[in-house]
Symmetry: C2
Subunit: 353 residues, 2 copies
């Protein structure tokens, strides 16, 4: 067996939903359990072509315009963490989900579920920072809703944001469009957001404070689309990190993806924190990074456009799309070996977005 071949004997199927009679934290972790919930519970109930696209945003047509719509709920604890808070995370998160379809995000809604007793000052700070994030991203928050739940039945505040945007003509981006020969580009360092939140929660102190990378990526996407429409897939690797996102793309496109681990940019403090907590940065959430899968011919131009943008300065080619092992992600490790990077069952990090 050659060094690039893998032995898939002994692989086990993901456990079917029925083996878990109750919801567990892992169902929200962005791993296999989350995928099973979608596949066995949500998809069969709501089956329609838009939902089955399984992109971060759904696409539909109005008067000849293609609109992208997305929703995301944010339940992060603590509400404020180094580099950000739940408010800007909620705005940036949905802006990014829309942007990953190639759309220009335009309008957002915000639904607040507030726990009785939350200081109004805290809510005010969160809302102020949402407004600043919306302005920076160039989107408008146009409708909202507030519910209050009894003390002890929330975590201060949960925020849902939903939004719509318009996809420019000639742009066709989706998780099923990766093709053998394509190149995988990552926009910057991984694991910052997840480890920022985790460090605060675990009371870890490092010489450098790890800050969340929360940022709106729509302007970066616009800069990329300005050099070519020929981008096949865009995804922001949030819950479940780069590894889960690439696994999902491999499955949606029925291609293999080979990742070169040595090319993954990871900050020293993030690497240290991961080692301390026994975590793999590949599975840690990011909130201001994107993965782009582009034809090899377009890679250089896209990479240059990314590196010229403040949010893509450390952009790098981190892998290739191959026709072998469709549906699977494999990584070339630092010592030159090759390993399968499977999706995790549940989650490494609870509730960081």
């Amino acid at each position: 067996m050659g060094s690039n071949e893998l032995n898939f004997e002994g692989w086990v199927c993901p456990m079917p939903l029925r083996d878990y009679p109750n919801i567990i934290l892992g169902h929200g972790g962005g791993g296999k359990l989350s995928a099973e919930l979608v596949e066995h519970l949500f998809l069969p109930a709501f089956r329609n072509e838009q939902l089955e696209g399984l992109g971060d945003a759904a696409v539909f047509n109005i008067n000849g315009a293609r609109l992208a719509m997305s929703t995301d709920s944010f339940v992060v604890r603590p509400l404020f963490f180094p580099g950000g808070n739940i408010g800007e995370l909620a705005v940036n998160g949905t802006v990014n989900d829309i942007a990953m379809s190639g759309a220009t995000p335009l309008y957002l809604s915000a639904g607040f579920i507030i726990e009785e007793g939350l200081p109004l000052e805290t809510l005010g700070a969160i809302v102020t920072s949402m407004a600043a994030a919306a302005q920076k991203a160039g989107v408008r928050l146009i409708t909202g809703d507030t519910k209050v739940v009894d003390k002890g039945h929330g975590d201060g505040v949960y925020i849902n944001t939903s939004g719509v945007g318009v996809i420019p003509e000639g742009v066709h981006i989706g998780p099923h469009r990766a093709q053998p020969g394509d190149v995988v580009i990552l926009s910057g360092t991984i694991g910052d957001h997840g480890m920022a939140v985790m460090s605060v929660r675990e009371g870890l102190a490092f010489e450098t404070t790890i800050e969340s990378d929360t940022a709106a990526l729509n302007h970066l996407v616009a800069a990329m689309l300005a050099v070519t429409n020929d981008i096949h897939v865009l995804r922001d690797p949030t819950r479940g990190g780069v590894a889960s996102t690439l696994n999902e793309i491999a499955q949606s496109s029925q291609v293999g993806i080979v990742l070169d681990e040595r090319k993954l940019p990871v900050k020293t403090a993030v690497r240290s924190a991961c080692e301390l907590l026994g975590m793999d940065p590949l599975f840690v959430a990011n909130e201001g990074k994107l993965l782009a899968i582009v034809p090899a011919a377009a890679a250089e131009a896209v990479l240059a456009a990314m590196q010229a943008h403040p949010l893509g300065q450390e952009a790098a080619v981190i892998g290739q799309v191959v026709s072998q092992h469709p549906g699977m992600l494999v990584a070339k490790t630092g010592i030159g070996a090759t390993r399968v990077v499977a999706m995790q069952i549940g989650e490494q990090l609870p509730r960081i977005c």
Copy 2:
């Protein structure tokens, strides 16, 4: 002073937000506290023309089409109640908010915040009923998100739905469009939803079970618009009931509204439950009723169209819009007196939608 005149001396201003350092349940009740939160906290932060419309849905233009967008979170306890459950409530609620702008609702998103330990069977039942409600309303649920929070930090499940629809040409409906001379029409009995939930929670038993009126009103609205575009205001009186909704319209349009209490349809069981619990059905939530404010000339045709629809069989004219006492709702009581029906500070009924 004539019997139709009122003495407004001694009215007090709503307390400013700063008098409450923390969020209390009343901030979610749809009364004055909710309004103050919007006016003093959300509006100043997000100020833009769409948000300031303060309708149930915000309106924006794409390629010449007018779209309506709305969001609502559902935190009702218990999750299942006579006549419905949180799932169909979540679908119908957002369908209705969109329909109240005159729009045809088309696409919904769903964001689930699930408490660890929720039986998958319960989630399955809720999702199945959401799918049925979506089908009945003729809308598609096209994108979703699931988060799981620790046991004890939720109430089984909270659901946010957001949605978009398209407003037909020639339709101009909004809370600021009520004019003196207009007629107020109500589509059916009031208080059913709120008292259905409250009865279960309080363990009340009546000869007749009170059932929630949860229903999608978009087809009823379409039937009304089929006879005339000349509808000024549509609103579904949910949280805060008919009284709060009419107060809001009176304020948005700067008109007075006179309500004839004798014409309000209230089921006997609902009336009994209200009396038992010391509640006024005017302030109790509905989830399948609408208020329409139309020019007197169109009233007869609109009423007939409503009465011909299964959800409007008991539709009735319940009041008039007047130029006197702008911003206020007054009611002619059963004994012929006139009273001011002010918005409540907080809420009568916690968390029923």
